[in-house]
Symmetry: C2
Subunit: 107 residues, 2 copies
Amino acid sequence: MSITSDILRGHTEAIILSHLLEHDSYGYQINKDIMKKTNNAYELKEATLYSAFRRLEQAGCIRTYWGDETVGARRRYYSITEKGRKAYADYKREWQEAREIIDQLLN
Amino acid sequence: MSITSDILRGHTEAIILSHLLEHDSYGYQINKDIMKKTNNAYELKEATLYSAFRRLEQAGCIRTYWGDETVGARRRYYSITEKGRKAYADYKREWQEAREIIDQLLN
DNA sequence: CCAATATACCTCATCTGTCAAGGTAAATAT
DNA sequence: ATATTTACCTTGACAGATGAGGTATATTGG
């Protein structure tokens, strides 16, 4: 990965929620999606991902259920809740505001 | 302040370097400048500021000297070094890259 | 004149998100 | 048979941000 973690810090939850807005998914898949979407410029570390899942679930932003795979490894799916949608909207607004501020400060 | 610290995290040093590119300055002034530039949307906390100064100095990105005020409180001035200019260029490139990545992921 | 506020510096302990390193288990490819 | 891929997870350590505290001088309002 080329982007340092401190710059991406704080965006993990928003990135996850954004993915779940499209459709339910599971950890491994979300991780692959992010790498693909960014042409391997950014890879969420597993530990980071799972700790974000825990925070999001505890906050009521996502719900989880086990997939009914009869073949292959079991998958724990995540789906976004109504609260999660609101949280995402907030995150996004915040990001847009922060982006402008930083652009302004980094002349 | 309206922006959460985790989103700004990692940008402190770049913000300071950017200010020092224009002219030497001191802690208190840099802080005020940032608030003004952002219409009070963002305020660097003092502890954050001074710990960033320490990191920057240790990394050789800035040099410090005491002002010769004969009146008022003493001021410790900071000036950017050649290494600091290079570091700033790197920070800025990184920011632009990160901005695109996040924009891509938060849709 | 005196109290409050502003200028200006600093430190320490704590908090939080990230991540390296480790683990489990099943399926598939070589 | 063995290596790789899919898929999950935990623990401890690290680093930047910050609340809370401190020092000292100058200015301003009542």
